[in-house]
Symmetry: C2
Subunit: 341 residues, 2 copies
DNA sequence: CGCTGTCATGTTAGCGCTAACATCCTTTTT
DNA sequence: AAAAAGGATGTTAGCGCTAACATGACAGCG
């Protein structure tokens, strides 16, 4: 009757637990917990002994249990609209290296430019008790706003500036569009076509177009728009050049929504034997290395992508530690005057 | 005494819980749990009522608690050595889209080519009760092997083929190196320099060099090697071309470890006015779009990156469902004969 | 009509950890 | 020397959910 083989239910994995470590080390469970999570609250000698025991038993803390008990995880939810775009990759890198150094783990979600998908991701991520949430962009579904407004952890909206839910780090896309349009006018171009891809989804490209159009309107010039089915790739850029050459034969410049399209067009122009910018000027946006290595060098606008990620992460970390941080930060942009305009 | 206002401790967030939903819906907690996780085990009518209640209360399931209770999470740990490399990004994309469709969430870790960092990541990820683990590569520290061998969930090692811990999807890098070396010889090149970056870390580039060298040895030719401090970028490729031109003035071909380096060199050759392949032939590895859009088109080897990710994910999913899957799969590669060789 | 089987739902007991409070020393203060 | 403060460790009670077992209702059937 007193055999330890309980006749009843039992579960759990075979893994070593914290209390097994505690027993083996001759201390209580909470002391082991503190040795790992708050070393300064444990006597150095005791701690050394506990760590040795952990090593000996090959104990791996169950972070799920820890998160449940403490109602918080060291997860940071990061939601981006695309992984095909180098821009988001670099922002993620900036976030990742900064968070990782502080022991936070990124939970990456990809919406593919679908706001409902974003809502679904937010719901899942809230369920994981994340410490903070980062999204690319200020646009969300109403359901998503509802979820986020009831949430008590910090939220960082990145990439663009505007009415944010909480923290905001980004740049002014309308101003960037204006900047490039002014540059192209200054170089003497008058028939400027704006080419973007999936612009109802990549609405930041739309913001840049709005800035572009504002400047051209001011000069009494038309601002024709070509909206492609693809977001951005060398192929799509090459195809777009062909389309512009037939649909707007008098065009003297193309303002592309991103460097992938612009570089694709530029390389294609070379293959066609067109002079850039003599026959047609080409401008991009992002400042990817690619555009800076082709001949002629691409005129584009550089955004500080990796820095934006790092800054956003630093702000969030400071905020999580209780520091007061500015709610909005403009990281700016820089016109890279290449030889393609 | 019987007042419900307990004079004692209390915690927990203000969030709606599953048992609150159960009370509101007039069922037990487990029925709500089943309505969400095993709908077929609940009467359709009951389920509808429960879902309506969930909607009304704005209940968001606590996935941490669920994972603790069930000793498993729908996390897939994915460990890659770098996020700067388009290759890994595409593999991750393939993994992500496939896992996401089945409701799994990727936990991404970046080792920066450091095996100790990998061990640390594995330790953390095991603590999250992941359903499976994916690593890029077959090389691990002893400590890491120890952790993984005690683990009872599936492990997928990707990118290369060889002695794997569990499942393995990849390609034969030695064969790829041989393939390109043969191609360069066939095109009449004899003084072929192999250029890689951080090859002690990017050991797969080293495997390709081994194949390359094997072929050149067979012809009695030297196989000079240049190992750069940078993994791969257009800048580094351009700089590498300069170095080769001075250190190996008689070189007639450069076999680069990746397309970034190769394309950087190719574009730089254009700026220098060098004919490719007349003055010097250039070859890469990966088959990135970039190399296919420059003139001359880059000779390279294409690996099915996104497909590799999808396939690895599908295999793991099948394995998780109890299906028997092949433990090793060679996804092959393809020589893209461009105009740069 | 009682037996077995199936379906729908409920009860119980944790999963492994940590917050909150408690205890027991040792040190510092007045 | 008594009181207050601080340091190290322990006890208790969950965090919110689900596995395992239990129950009850009803159908089919010889």
């Amino acid at each position: 009757m007193s055999k330890s083989s309980s006749p009843r239910r039992r579960r759990g994995s075979a893994r070593t637990t914290l209390s097994q470590v505690a027993d083996a080390a001759g201390v209580s469970a909470i002391t082991v917990s503190r040795a790992l999570n708050a070393p300064e609250r444990v006597n150095a000698e005791t701690r050394r002994h506990i760590l040795a025991t952990i090593e000996r038993l090959g104990y791996v803390p169950n972070l799920v249990a820890g998160s449940l008990a403490s109602a918080s995880s060291r997860f940071i939810a990061v939601i981006v609209p695309s992984l095909s775009n180098a821009v988001f990759i670099e922002v993620i890198q900036g976030l990742q290296e900064t968070f990782e150094a502080e022991g936070y783990q990124i939970l990456l979600g990809n919406t593919d430019y679908d706001l409902d998908r974003e809502t679904q991701l937010v719901r899942t991520f809230l369920g994981w008790s994340c410490s903070a949430l980062v999204t690319a962009g200020l646009r969300h579904s109403d359901a998503c706003r509802g979820l986020l407004s009831q949430w008590d952890k910090p939220i960082m909206e990145m990439m663009e500036l505007g009415e944010a839910l909480d923290l905001n780090v980004g740049l002014d896309h309308v101003a960037a569009g204006r900047c490039m349009a002014r540059h192209l006018l200054q170089r003497g171009h008058r028939q400027i076509v704006y080419v973007g891809g999936r612009m109802s989804e990549d609405y930041r490209a739309g913001l840049r177009y709005a800035g572009h159009r504002e400047i051209l309107d001011g000069e009494g010039l038309a601002a024709p728009l070509l909206d492609l089915a693809h977001l951005g790739s060398l192929e799509a850029g090459a195809a777009a050049l062909d389309r512009v050459l037939t649909s707007h034969p008098r065009a003297d410049a193309i303002h592309f929504a991103n460097d992938d399209l612009a570089t694709g067009a530029l390389l294609h122009a070379q293959r066609l034997g067109l002079g850039v910018p003599k026959d047609i000027a080409i401008a991009g946006f992002n400042g990817l290395p690619l555009g800076q290595h082709v001949t002629p060098r691409l005129t584009t606008i550089r955004s500080p992508r990796q820095y934006m990620g790092q800054l956003a992460a630093k702000r969030l970390l400071a905020h999580l530690q209780g520091d007061v941080v500015a709610r909005r930060q403009d990281v700016g942009f820089e016109l890279l005057t290449g030889d393609s305009s």
